[in-house]
């Protein structure tokens, strides 16, 4: 590169950084010079491809290739700055082994095929399975990284065309408990607050969430707040010491699973010390209790139905009686005095208190319960639905909200929180979709785990996987990997952009377009729906998953379900009809093309920052104050649930004395198919390691980076120990990230799940460790 261009680019880089830092005037370049420096690059907006934060990115394109990215200075989420994963946006589409042609399995080899060949084969397999075994023998497994269009098309085809509820998504593995938490507490999914609460609050309780690595830009907003306001306090409740813990004001270590007990203890103290808001409770809260000892979903076809009963305040107080600070200190390892201190902090009337959480709460065999319990604390104290003061469920994937939850791509769901079990909901869906209401089945079939159990048993024959990697990410992985290759009529289709541990088990691999290689819409964790246009062509013959699904629809005789001339805008306007008037209103498509996203409900062109609150939510009339208007059966009140502490299904014992926790690290996204693809990035964080406490290592006789064998009742793996990493495991615990395709840690994980949400617990199972 010639020197002057290089110097120009460096000036551009500095100018962008100055602008983002809020000091554009100090920048080295005048705007017109900056534009000249960029010579030939056109910029388009898009939400980032990675996490649920939904940062705005400007994507710079030259000669049909992405050559630069910028934090979008007009994006309210991140105001011109991206996290370190923003570097990887340069690489995720350009790995050497990008899939570019359909591939069909012939024996042990995958052979190149045309789209016509591949789709003819796939359609034939669908028709054969449906004819022989019925519509419930075929399935779609999609993703919280699907665009809204991809999810909508899949749901409409399978539920309204083929006539099966066999639509599930990887969001069952990440956000399902958050959803059931919302639905049981508020009768409506998704947060009442928004990211503005990170700027406006002063007290932040983080529960089992390593925000510094997994939601870095949101964490930065909190840190920015703290730098400006010395009153701001961040308390990190965790089972391991992370970068988040390092930066928090207080790190509170607790024993896995005892989050349930801790939240009840906090409520106990709030009640005991009369710190609750009596008027708020009277106006806005009802109390309920459900079934207990509800199982763990370990048996195939496990079923559970709760039986909620209304209880009075006194009964709730009696329920909390055993959760004294001393008792809970005993099981959790958190000192009683700390429990009392933090309960008082939670209830402090002079503070604006927020709670934030993700997978520590959601990937939990009592995930629904623990989501209920954190809401309890906010409801008892009235610290909710106020600017700067809310519980905020953080979403992991870029469109688990926008696609899977809002479109409803789950076995039991339809768009806009509707459910297949409700005949009125089926009628409404059928009306908008233009199908016979009898087409949409009334009974849910399988959650994600059960879907792959069904494939293993042969009850499902054909499964199409899009934008996800289940044969690396499912718990108790060995069973499901074997199940996929049992033959006997089973047929697995995987659409992806790179070879993965799932494509290797497929009968057909389809090459997909990714991110800005197609038009799309995502919805982030703060209800912000964000649109982007296609900016570059996909390589080779790769096509969008949307095209692929519509192609199957056409070949199965359901092409009339998608009669659009301009697919995306017309599909959007059809989809909008579900949300109109439901408190989930979406704007017309053109509004999203123009804006840096809008937070729903969008009514008369205005977005909503705080739901259920007068003056902010258009559905709340003057004088109504706070109204949980989606919960009509409980007179528009929220529910405080009496949920007990129950142990994990597989805790450490003599034979398997350690807790195994799994999760993500900053540099790698999920199963590493995008970030792990490029050798350079793999070198930065080369391979999975076993994070262990130095005392445990000493007892095992291992030193840093030495190999250990980790074994559970389901699988075994050899990894180097990491005693000096940026995070540190607590004694009796280890942590392994799941990004490494060469180290399938999920083979060790237990496929127990929350009976209410169906979400597996990836954070807790028992292992033994030996020097390898």
């Amino acid at each position: 590169m010639e020197l002057s261009r290089r110097e120009f680019l460096k000036s551009s880089a500095a100018a962008a950084a100055f602008a983002a830092a809020g000091a554009a005037a100090l920048g080295p370049l005048q705007p017109k010079d900056a534009a000249a420096a960029e010579g030939g690059i056109t910029w388009g907006k898009a939400p980032c491809r990675f996490c649920g934060t939904g940062c705005g990115v400007l994507v710079g394109v030259k000669d049909n290739r992405i050559v630069a990215t910028k934090g979008d200075s007009q994006a309210p989420v991140n105001r011109g700055l991206n996290c370190i994963k923003g570097y990887f946006l340069s690489k995720v589409l350009y790995g050497k082994d990008r899939l570019t042609t359909p591939l069909i399995r012939k024996g042990d080899r995958m052979v190149e095929a045309s789209w016509d060949e591949a789709m003819t084969l796939i359609a034939g397999k669908f028709k054969e399975a449906i004819a022989k075994h019925g519509p419930d023998s075929v399935a779609m497994y999609g993703s919280g990284q699907w665009t809204v269009f991809e999810g909508y098309a899949a749901s409409k085809l399978f539920k309204g065309g083929i006539g099966t509820n066999n639509v599930e998504v990887n969001a069952r593995l990440c956000m399902a408990s958050a959803v059931t938490g919302f639905m049981t507490t508020f009768a409506s999914d998704e947060p009442m607050g928004c990211y503005d609460d990170l700027d406006l609050g002063d007290t932040y309780f983080l529960w089992g969430a390593n925000m510094a690595e997994c939601h870095p830009i949101l964490f930065s907003r909190m840190i920015d707040n703290r730098l400006k306001n010395p009153k701001v306090k961040i308390i990190d409740f965790g089972t391991r010491h992370t970068r988040t813990s390092q930066m928090a004001d207080q790190y509170v270590r607790f024993n896995p699973q005892t989050d349930l007990a801790l939240l009840n203890a906090i409520a106990h103290v709030i009640i005991r010390d009369k710190l609750y808001d009596e008027q708020f409770i009277k106006d806005h809260v009802v109390f309920k209790r459900g079934k207990e000892q509800i199982g763990y979903g370990l048996e195939d076809k496990f079923k559970f139905a709760d039986e909620p009963k209304l209880i009075g305040f006194d009964e709730y107080v009696a329920f909390l009686k055993p959760y004294t600070p001393d008792y809970v200190a005993g099981i959790s390892g958190v000192p009683a005095a700390t429990i009392v201190e933090l309960a008082h902090l939670y209830a402090d009337r002079k503070r604006k208190v927020n709670s934030l959480w993700t997978m520590g709460f959601n990937q939990h065999t009592r995930g629904t319960w623990v989501n209920n319990l954190v809401y309890n604390v906010h409801l008892l104290t009235g610290k909710i639905c106020k600017p700067g003061e809310n519980p905020l469920s953080l979403t992991g994937q870029p469109s688990a909200c926008g696609t899977t939850r809002e479109v409803g791509t789950f076995t039991h769901r339809l768009p806009a929180d509707m459910v297949v079990t409700n005949p009125e909901h089926r009628e409404k869906a059928a009306r908008i979709w233009g199908v016979d209401p009898k087409k949409i089945p009334a009974k849910p079939t399988y959650n994600a785990t059960e879907m792959f159990r069904a494939l293993d048993r042969g009850d499902i024959k054909v499964v199409w996987v899009q934008v996800t990697n289940p044969f690396q990410s499912l718990p108790n992985l060995n069973r499901y990997r074997k199940g996929a290759r049992k033959g006997d009529g089973r047929f697995v289709i995987v659409s992806d952009i790179y070879p993965t541990r799932s494509t290797e088990l497929a009968d057909v691999i389809l090459p997909s377009a990714s991110w800005v290689e197609k038009e799309g819409v995502f919805g982030n964790a703060e209800r912000r729906t964000q649109q982007w246009f296609k900016l570059v062509d996909a390589p080779g013959e790769a096509r969008s998953d949307l095209w692929q699904t519509l192609e199957l629809a056409r070949r199965l005789g359901h092409g009339s379900l998608f009669p659009y001339k301009q697919v995306e805008p017309e599909m959007w306007e059809e989809y909008r009809k579900f949300n109109e008037g439901q408190g989930k209103d979406l704007a017309p498509y053109a509004a999203y093309a123009a804006a840096r996203g809008l937070r729903w409900p969008v009514v008369d062109g205005r977005e909503t920052r705080w739901r259920y609150a007068e003056g902010h939510d258009p559905y709340v009339k003057p004088g109504e104050g706070i109204k949980f208007y989606k919960n009509k059966p409980d007179h528009f009140k929220a529910v405080v649930w009496a949920r007990p502490y129950e142990p994990a299904p597989e805790a450490p014992d003599k034979q398997y004395p350690f807790w195994l926790c799994t999760g993500r690290v900053l540099e790698h996204w999920h199963t590493g198919t995008m970030t792990g693809r490029v050798p350079e990035i793999r070198r930065a964080y080369p391979a999975a390691v076993c994070e262990m406490h130095p005392d445990d290592a000493k007892q095992l006789g291992v030193t840093n980076l030495q190999q250990v064998r980790i074994t559970s009742r389901r699988g075994s793996i050899v990894l180097p120990v990491d005693l000096n990493g940026r995070s540190r495991a607590e004694k009796g615990n280890i942590f392994v990230a799941f990004f490494d395709e060469g180290k399938l840690i999920n083979e060790l994980c237990l496929d127990a799940y929350c009976p209410i949400s169906g979400e597996p617990d990836f954070k807790k199972c028992a292992v033994r460790i030996e020097k390898a």
Partner: protein
Amino acid sequence: MPVSGVVITCVDGCSHDVAERIAAFDGVEVHGVLPDGQIVAVVEADTVDGEVKLVSAFHGLAGVAAVRLAYHNFEDQEQVQP
């Protein structure tokens, strides 16, 4: 050689110290230290991995509260077409 512009947020009073330390890294130019404790720096390396290594290292320095990316140009990245 990819080039990037980053903003480093520092804890009160640490910014000049941090600026001095990061300026010593090969491939890092400090372009400004702002009154509010933010540092503007330009990072270059032979590869994206090299940039990421440098920027990751900033995270480990005492006094650094956040490291964020404002701009990244990789137009001369090896164009790998399958």
